[in-house]
């Protein structure tokens, strides 16, 4: 195969290791043999393509997409940002999916038995496609922190789960967005599973007063960086890279 379109090797030093014993569930679910390094082929540099026909108008508006009789309880926020690749090129038209707990820290999920109240007006899921310049935007409420069974007194900091595809199977990424100033971050084993301090801090969304809608909704900015191609041949630009 021609070398066109290959992605840079994943820098595993900025990702959490599979085995991180402070996060107890990782102990029995972590492979112990080394990963087999693969030079990319068509199987890796291609990936699913999603069109705008997939989306409904309220999919990225969590204030309204689960509304029954009133808007959900909680701090109204905008989460927005840009999807770029490692070469600082925008990643357009890529599917972004999010899910989160409600303002009290409870998920709308059959397996969540936390005592906090459910919110019948909040589903906690949203999705969108980045625009031609890589920008995306959601409207939601700020999720609450919640306890979880790990060490006896572990609490998850407020967070939103973010799933994103990019344009290849190897750019696929799932991460979590946290909020500036949360004192639970420094205690959280999942957050701390990321060895690199800078990489951790880039998961913290920053208050964005410029995008805040006065008297209405606070904005947070969260940029996402996906793997980039090793080179940027002219031919690839045809695909909007």
């Amino acid at each position: 195969m021609e070398r066109l379109g290959e992605y840079r090797a994943r820098n595993r030093e900025i990702h959490p290791p599979a085995y991180f014993p402070d996060y107890k569930t990782s102990v029995a679910r972590s492979p112990r043999k080394p990963l087999v390094a693969l030079q990319q082929s068509l199987s890796e540099i291609t990936g699913p393509v999603f069109g705008r026909d997939l989306l409904h108008p309220l999919d990225n508006d969590l204030l309204l997409n689960g509304k029954v009789n009133q808007e959900p309880v909680g701090e109204r926020i905008i989460v927005h940002g840009r999807v770029l690749d490692e070469n600082a090129l925008p990643v357009p038209d890529t599917l972004i999916e999010i899910w989160q707990a409600n303002a009290g820290g409870k998920y709308r999920h059959v397996n969540d038995h936390y005592v906090a109240a459910a919110d019948p007006n909040f589903l906690g899921c949203g999705r969108t496609l980045s625009d031609a310049d890589g920008w995306y935007r959601f409207r939601t409420i700020k999720p609450g922190p919640y306890p979880w069974r790990n060490r006896l007194n572990d609490w998850r900091p407020a967070h939103i789960h973010v799933s994103i595809f990019g344009h290849a199977f190897v750019t696929r990424l799932i991460t979590q967005l946290y909020f500036e100033g949360d004192p639970l971050l420094r205690h959280c084993p999942i957050y701390r599973s990321i060895p690199d301090e800078g990489a951790r801090e880039r998961l913290v969304a920053k208050l964005d007063l410029g995008e805040t809608i006065p008297l209405d909704t606070i904005a947070y900015r969260f940029d996402i960086v996906l793997r980039g191609r090793r080179q940027t041949p002219i031919e690839n630009k045809l695909q909007g890279a």
Binding site: M1, L4, G5, R10, H15, P16, A18, T25, S26, V27, A28, R29, S30, P31, R32, K33, L35, V36, A37, L38, S41, L42, S43, I45, T46, G47, P48, V49, D59, L84, D85, E86, N87, E97, I98, W99, Y107, R108, H109, N111, D112, L123, G124, C125, R127, H161, S163, F169, R172, L173, I174, T175, Q176, A199, R200, R202, L203, V225, L226, R227
Partner: protein, 202 residues
């Protein structure tokens, strides 16, 4: 140059965002993504099913499995596949499903992919690319499913041959069972232990 955003576990509630119906939500999106073969799709219809076992041999019941595969002719529905063969417009190549909360079983109704051109003039045996996400998995695990009844093609496959210990190559094979006349390929993932599945750094 920028640095890739760090991964975090998808957690136990991943269904909410990616397969809301599985979480118990009345949301239409994300349903039916485990059926890749539609009425007009070309190729041999198969069911691909499996379970995931952890290091204690317990079944993982909260995982999500995503697959990406070529069509029956061995072509990916993606603009960067420039192989000189016809593509199947009725096949989108991507599948996603959740392990069953009780049994841990996951399955796809798909077609058997064709062979795909590999690097440097090689040919890759029919295979399905897999990514596994779950609570306790900090970054998705990538593997490939090959088909045990393709012994000749598998023996020449450049990726299987990368796995130094021949015995470990067997961890990548799905085995054929006939069930009520339908071909079912069964694949077991071992996250850890003696039989640990080969995972790739792609």
């Amino acid at each position: 140059m920028l640095t890739e955003t760090a991964s975090q576990t998808a957690g136990p509630y991943l269904h909410i965002g990616m397969m809301p119906a599985a979480a118990g939500l009345d949301v239409a999106w994300g349903q039916g993504w485990n059926v890749l073969a539609g009425p007009d799709t070309q190729g041999r219809r198969i069911r691909l099913e499996g379970i995931i076992l952890d290091g204690t041999d317990s079944v993982v019941r909260d995982a999500m499995v995503e697959i990406w595969q070529a069509d029956g002719n061995g072509r990916y529905p993606h603009p960067e596949d420039r192989q000189d063969k016809a593509g199947d417009g009725a096949f989108r190549g991507f599948g996603r499903t959740a392990a069953d909360f009780q049994t841990g079983l996951w399955w796809f109704d798909t077609i058997k992919p064709g062979a795909v051109q590999g690097r440097h003039g090689t040919v890759m045996a029919p295979h399905v690319n897999v990514a596994i996400f779950a609570r306790g998995i900090n970054i998705q695990l990538n593997t490939r499913i090959y088909f045990a009844d393709e012994a000749e093609a598998n023996a020449k496959d450049p990726v299987l041959r990368l796995v130094e210990q021949e015995k470990r190559r067997e961890t990548l094979l799905a085995r054929l069972e006939e069930r009520q006349g339908q071909p079912v390929y069964r694949f077991t993932v071992h996250l850890q232990g003696e039989l640990e599945t080969v995972f790739f750094d792609v």
